[in-house]
Amino acid sequence: MELTDSQNAIIQSPFERKIFLEGSAGTGKTTAGVARMRHMLTSGVPADRLLVLTPQRTLAAPYDEALRHPDVAAGGLVNIATVGGLARRMVDLFWPLVIEEAGFGAQDERPTFLTLETAQYYMARIVSPLVEEQGYFDAINIDRNRLYSQILDNLNKAAVVGFPYTEIAERLRGAWVGESAQARVYDQAQDCAARFRRYCLEHNLLDFSLQVDVFFAHLWTEPLCRDYLLNSYTHLLVDNVEEDVPVAHDLVYSWLPHAESALVICDQDAGYRSFLGADPVSAAALRDLCDERVTFTGSFVTSPEMQAFGDTLSRILQPGAVSAPPVVQPPPNLTNVLRFESCRYHPDMLDWTADAIAALVHNDGVPPGEIVVLAPFLTDALRFSLTHRLEQRDVPARSHRPSRALREEPATQTLLTWAALGHPAWGVVPTRYDVAYALMQTIADLDLVRAHLLAEVLYRVKDKTPALAPFDGVNPDMQQRITYLFGGRYEALRIWLDAYRAAAPAPLDHFLARLFGEVLSQSGYGFHQDFDAARTAATLIESVQKFRWIAADLPAGKPLGQEYLEMVQRGVIAAQYLQPWQERDENAVLLAPAYTFLLGNQPVDVQFWLNVGGTGWWERLYQPLTHPYVLSRRWSKGQPWTDTEEVAARQLSLHRLVAGLVRRCRKTVYLGLSELGEQGYEQTGPLLKAIQRVLRAQS
């Protein structure tokens, strides 16, 4: 791609310059950043002196790709990291320095770093007895897993914003104006956070918040570690700084004076991760420490018409415009950039969407990868319905996550049912349905009716111990109904399970691997030809293995496999496991929540916005235990959060969201409108109204 003069100026500026580069999305900032990195490498700057810092790993994709390019000189490795990743590496590296100072309990042991899933697991272990035995959180109605994740979220917020986690409840209480019972709930959340932190310290477990806390409190202040970092990385490339958290900005702020060169890239009008603590205001403060400030204008992505549409919409949505509407300039002809049709029902809208996509792909030759379908959030039903419709129209589609969570995959259910039968001591008793479904999956060609017959006559539970009875014991009439072919396959499975039960139990992942290898993948069994099921099995085995590595100190006498199974049942783990093979199929229509698409930062030709009338575009998820705005640096303690603040915040984020989407759309935005939403309620949300104003201004 041809680079502009201003891009070239950035790329070729001297290697002692510190530049703050800002501009809207699509103005070519990251392209310049990547090119500068390559220019530095080709000019002889040692790769391992470069540190590329982004708020989340996916945002570093352009840098990753550039480095994989064959013409990049071999040599050292450029470091690409997030602040969290950096913190974790430093804690790992300088562990002996912090172990005592930070108050870890197991002095002779290494740290265990928790993933979100495993942190959730420990949180569940700590919090669920409090809920069940002491009536914690009975004043609110919330799904258990959301409860755990919100308490973790509070800890993370405290860490990335940089206030003591002991102040969480106080801050939340100070802003609360609703029902008074809520104050107690905040105290309970505080108590849970404290218990979790104590437990982590005792057992050398480091969740994200503790990694960040330890790094900033004990390592960044420690000359040994600090000098190591400052001397290792002398050239900083910081991209999407507006999406990063305040402590990341603090870090860069104190690093900049010591760096030889720096390029800090900041998107204007963004900050989509504010619910994760992103703080565009503290990002902007980095400007003052740079030698030079450059602003890019002019989009590489959008046409002037699209730009005009975006600008008009932005003016309407900008905060403060609610009661005193600005004069809206009619945008130029919108017919090229905006298409819509109003439907009465939600499924009608999905049909319209699928038809329009099929026409684009099959008639107009638009590559499926250039089309995204966006909604404020995607329910499973919506994803399933749309994927199914696109399949019927022969259009490949992908989703931001697999169509089913790992725990919902039929293959997972099957494997875990056999695990329960292989380990009667766990006291986990599958239902007759589970066994019938497992048989249907396991035995090739077995139908649901015969699977039920098998389960009905041969699955026995005696004294809470589940077992399979021999096929020989069934009366001949029933044997005929089931057929001897299926009976034989059933027997082989039963005998394998019996033999396993007779020996000492193996770790769950070993059990699953053996069952898969010795029975399920054999000819005559369901996984033999079903590659998806085989991949699911592999992923499950990996998940169990990882769980086995971190899960120390299990409740007294409880086998690990049983604990794993129960946690899967409760939805604590295996709920969001990403299957690697489903992650990327580039030339497929992407279905994603709008924010997920924005953070992927990949412009496309065509966007579909679904449920434009829905209030979901404007509402934030209400989290009763936490609050992204109150737990930020922009909020003074004790100031009440009223409707005025709520509306201003919603309006601002809708404005940012819509502006961000338009800037990532090259050609056309399709609006899916249904009078009644997915749940049957009438939809006239603020986005719809704003778009109507654009249309009215035009007419």
Partner: protein, 752 residues
């Protein structure tokens, strides 16, 4: 009324409204909803609204919402503007939902809070009442009638008590919520009170239990929704200010049925300086019994200083004789009702015909088409007489509309059965929201089968569900039943569904040559069932969506299925241990939920009598409100269904096993109210509430009669029956009307 609406002088007065407060008293058929819709359109068109502002229209029932919205949309479009912008039409429940939904946190709710409908609420309440009755078998003995011997008393305790207490508790909880009393508030007050109040203790116990059960489910009921909306508005002044800004004009239709909370909520939304138009017909207030709804709110409002009072007395709906009859009913009740306390039940303005030259002239008068049958008939004879009359009338009036109006649902079913037996086409406006239930019902049957795939009986049911369209056609239906019977008799369903070389039920039937169509039909069904069986290992939402794709084509049905999928998915997430049987149970329950908000059914999109010419509409008088027919039969006008608070009248709410003819419902509500107003004084006098309830009920039934009469355009027949025991008498107002009408007829004949 035609598409272009030319307002009459009195309507123009209403339409001249620019702002402030106005109250309008209208008569039946005066076009009040048209006028109000036009007013809404006018306010929008004249540029009174900012871009984010809306005219808020509040009305009574869902069917009115879509009617109203449709009319405003039409008027707005006639003025060249976009429809669906600038106004919002809601019932009080819908409005409350909007308010709470916007800031659930203020009401202490999660953002995914559930709303359970009356039926699900009733189930929870029944459980709570049952628990209470079991643990307090003798605690209400003090109210039992002294005439009961021990055996009968025991019978009551074991039998009727349960339902009776549930009924009491239902009203109690409704009223407590209306008064914004939580169980905790009540407990506190009860503990302060020096004496034990048995009825209130009972109400409290069941109420507390019920609310716990709701909280456990993360749910609120419809009354909570209203209560919480009010609470939300009071908690955050900034939120209230924003809503006031959004809704600068509030138009209220059917204001005669406004309740205390409705008035409170709207008063808050209007604010001290706001714009509020309330339109209603106090004579059509028929939703008052044991609610706080009352035509008094509208009447009082119209008398307030600063409120402009208007009326709409002209109606082009009925011929003069029907108008005369309705006006006489007003006059008689004002002057001559035997119970003076009821004389204010109906009020002027009298109905006046439309002025000369009006685009909607009244039908020409035909007094001979008004019949008030004096002779007492048995309930069966009454129906037979109506059926005979319709058999004669229908063939001669193919282009006209006709309705049979009854006071109660069960009477309507009897009429419907009699008409069906004679093959007279009829439409029942009795049950509600059929399509939601049917779609959910179809899915439920499929899921029941999938949970027990070895059952031939359930497979046969699935077949009937798949072929449910055949129900419309008796020949097809018989064939479907026949095939279903054959399926039911399959001993081993797998031999049909999943045949193997040596076992193939379908092949054994030798149909392929004998009846190739049937053979192919059964192959098609088999392929479908195979596919459905394949879904059983999927998550529940995907099962439902897959089934729905095969089962439904109507967009509304698919939309319902989609919603059910989402809701069931939530249930499955909350109960990971649930399998198909439990989820199917939930489906059955969920199917009934939230129907008040679903715009999915035929009923909710508005019922148009004119679309049913040549068919007989059967409806309760309540459901007939707002509708009109060329000919109307008004049945059961006896002193049981229309009592007049005379000593000989019996009242449904006074149970025979309760002492002194007490209406316990009225008594407990009066106690609750006295308790709420001032627990120290506690002004309560046993028996007085029972008497007042009689008066209120008699007054409401009088208005119901008025509503029934004013549904008729050109012909009206009123009959009465002697009731189940054969002892019922004609209703007192019926006698008055009938006597007066006989005299009128003589006058007319003599002037002729």
């Amino acid at each position: 009324m035609g598409a272009t609406f030319q307002p009459r002088p009195r309507q123009r007065q209403v339409l001249a409204y620019k702002g402030g407060r106005m109250g309008v008293a209208a008569v039946p058929g005066s076009g009040k909803t048209w006028t109000l819709s036009l007013l809404a359109a006018k306010l929008i068109a004249e540029g009174n609204l900012g871009d984010e502002q809306e005219v808020l229209v509040v009305t009574l029932v869902n069917s009115a919402v879509s009617n109203f919205a449709g009319r405003v949309a039409r008027f707005v479009q006639e003025r060249g503007l976009l429809p669906n912008v600038g106004y919002r039409v809601r019932t009080l429940h819908g409005l409350s939902h909007d308010i709470v939904r916007e800031r659930p946190a203020l009401a202490g709710l999660a953002d995914d809070f559930q709303i359970i409908d009356e039926r699900a609420a009733q189930e929870i309440l029944q459980d709570a009442a049952q628990v209470w009755v079991r643990s307090h078998p003798y605690s209400l003995d003090a109210v039992l009638s002294a005439d009961l011997d021990e055996t009968r008393a025991e019978g009551v305790r074991r039998g009727r008590w349960q339902d009776y207490v549930t009924g009491l508790a239902t009203s109690f909880i409704k009223q407590a919520k209306d008064l914004q009393l939580t169980p905790a508030d009540l407990r506190y007050r009860l503990d302060q009170f020096p004496e034990e109040l048995a009825l209130l203790e009972m109400g409290y116990a069941i109420y507390a239990d019920y609310q716990r059960a709701l909280a456990y489910r993360g749910a609120v009921d419809f009354d909570d929704l209203i209560r919480l909306a009010l609470q939300t508005l009071r908690l955050d002044p900034a939120f209230l200010a924003r809503l006031r800004e959004r809704w600068p004009y509030i138009l209220e239709d059917e204001a005669q049925d406004s309740s205390r909370l409705q008035e409170e909520i709207l008063k808050l939304l209007v604010g001290p300086e706001g714009n509020w138009v309330r339109v209603g017909d106090p004579n059509q207030a028929i939703y008052e019994t044991f609610t706080t709804a009352s035509p008094e709110y509208l009447r009082r409002f119209m008398k307030q200083p600063g409120v402009r009072a208007r009326d709409l007395p002209n109606s082009g709906r009925s011929m003069q004789s029907v108008i005369n009859l309705a006006n006489y009913l007003i006059r008689w009740s004002n002057d001559a009702h035997p119970v003076p306390a009821i004389r204010s039940a109906l009020a002027t303005p009298y109905i006046r015909p439309t002025p000369r030259g009006d685009p909607q002239p009244n039908p020409s008068d035909a007094p001979e088409n008004v019949h008030l049958t004096a002779r007492g008939l048995s309930p069966q004879q009454e129906i037979e007489a109506v059926v005979r009359s319709l058999e004669r009338w229908l063939p001669e009036h193919k282009d006209e509309t006709v309705a049979v109006l009854v006071p109660r649902n069960d009477r309507g079913f009897e009429v419907a059965n009699a008409l069906k037996a004679k093959n007279i086409p009829c439409v029942e406006l009795l049950r509600s929201t059929r399509s939601t239930r049917e779609a959910a019902g179809a899915l439920t049957h499929l899921c029941y089968y999938l949970a027990e795939p070895t059952s031939a009986k359930k497979l046969a049911t699935v077949y009937r569900v798949w072929q449910r369209a055949a129900r419309e056609d008796p020949v097809l239906e018989a064939r479907v039943e026949d095939i279903a019977k054959r399926l039911r008799q399959i001993a081993r369903v797998e031999d049909y569904l999943w045949p193997r070389a040596d076992r193939d039920w379908l092949a054994e039937q030798n149909m392929e040559n004998a009846d190739p169509l049937l053979h192919d039909h059964l192959v098609e069904f088999r392929v479908l069932v195979q596919r459905w069986q394949g879904t059983t290992t999927l998550p529940i939402d995907q099962i439902i969506l897959t089934l729905a794709q095969d089962l439904f084509t109507a967009p509304a049905d698919l939309a319902i299925a989609h919603k059910l999928a989402v809701v069931l998915r939530q249930a499955a997430n909350a109960h990971p241990e649930w399998r198909l049987p439990e989820l199917t149970q939930e489906l059955a329950v969920v199917a009934k939920n939230e129907r008040k908000f679903l715009g999915f059914s035929d009923e909710d999109t508005g019922f148009d009598p004119d679309a049913h010419k040549g068919e007989v509409i059967i409806s309760t008088i309540h459901k007939a409100k707002g509708l009109e027919w060329d000919k109307v039969y008004l049945l059961s006008v006896n002193d049981y269904d229309f009592p007049s608070a005379l000593p000989q009248d019996s009242f449904i709410s006074e149970a025979w096993f309760v002492r002194d003819h007490l209406n316990l419902e009225a008594e407990v509500l009066a106690q609750l109210k006295a308790f709420y107003e001032n627990p120290d004084l506690f002004i309560y006098d046993e028996g007085t509430p029972t008497l007042r309830a009689r008066h209120d009920y008699a007054a409401e039934r009088l208005r119901l009669l008025y509503v029934g009469i004013t549904r008729a355009r050109k012909a009206l027949t009123m009959t009465w029956n002697t009731g189940r025991r054969g002892t019922a008498q004609p209703a007192v107002p019926f006698i008055a009307l009938q006597t007066w009408w006989e005299m009128e007829k003589e006058n007319i004949t003599s002037t002729d």
